[in-house]
């Protein structure tokens, strides 16, 4: 499933609300959609929101690392928001938090209810 993309002009924040299952099969389309939006808006901050992601394997780690590199090239920042417990566990295993901040927002509580 393609992410819903929201761009806030004021703060130059691009948020990608990822959803469904992120695996090798689905990652390519997600990656392309996010990258097109990055090129279009040139955001100062990219937020990858995982609230509605029900499954993720190492393809999701590749997706985060790839976007991290891209944002670095643009001298811009990246955040990961609201992963579920099992996805957070996978992110810890891959030491994602060593290069990308992981945050939890009130928004996730609303989505999960």
């Amino acid at each position: 499933m393609l992410p819903k993309l929201e761009y806030c002009t004021d703060k130059r924040i691009l948020t990608a609300f990822l959803c469904g299952e992120i695996d090798h099969h689905s990652a390519r389309a997600v990656r392309e959609a996010v990258d097109i939006a990055i090129e279009k808006h040139r955001p100062a901050l990219l937020v990858l929101d995982f609230s509605a992601v029900t499954f993720m394997d190492s393809s999701g780690i590749g997706l985060i690392m790839g976007r991290f590199k891209r944002m670095q090239e643009h001298r811009a920042d990246i955040l990961v928001a609201n992963p579920s417990d099992s996805i957070a566990k996978l992110m810890r295993l891959a030491s994602v938090e060593r290069i990308v901040r992981i945050v939890y927002t009130a928004h996730s509580a609303n989505v999960k209810e």
Binding site: D23, H24, H25, D57, S59, I61, G62, M65, S86, L93
Partner: protein, 147 residues
């Protein structure tokens, strides 16, 4: 101890859509065996990694079948094998190093084996070049109803 309680065998063509099908089969099998939610999530992820490896690396540039087999023993031990008849792995030790990947252009993180190892109690890899690869994963499942 080694009595089989239930088993499932799935043979799927190496299309990437089937990664989801393999996960669905594993989670359905484990749910009916009474495995708890976190065990199901871990084995689902491990199987997703194994099947993806077979499709992306085993059958790189070609197609073939991936065989997934799950066995549940009376003792609570689950044995999962994922086999392909693809190109095989030249250097298993190197392939298992975290962050090593032969497909960086696809943004493969090189973490498949590390994830399988950490989400299972035991992982065995048998491979021969030109003949294929067989992964065997084992894990004791905790029964969800018993906490």
């Amino acid at each position: 101890m080694n009595t089989i309680q239930n088993s499932l065998k799935l043979i799927i063509p190496s299309h990437s859509e089937n990664e989801g099908l393999a996960r669905l089969a594993v989670s359905g099998f484990l749910a009916s065996a009474g495995a708890d939610v976190s065990t199901i999530a871990e084995l689902k992820t491990a199987v997703s990694e194994g099947v993806t490896n077979a499709i992306v690396h085993g059958y790189r540039g070609s197609y073939g079948n991936v065989t997934l087999e799950i066995k549940l023993f009376k003792s609570g031990r689950v044995k999962i094998t994922i086999a392909d008849k693809g190109r095989g792995i030249e250097d298993i030790e190197r392939a298992m190093e975290p962050l090593f990947t032969t497909a960086p252009e696809e943004e493969r993180a090189g973490l498949g084996f590390a994830i399988m190892e950490s989400f299972c109690d035991k992982l065995r890899v048998k491979s021969s070049v030109g003949k294929g690869t067989r992964l065997t994963m084992e894990k004791y499942i905790k029964n969800g109803s018993q906490g």
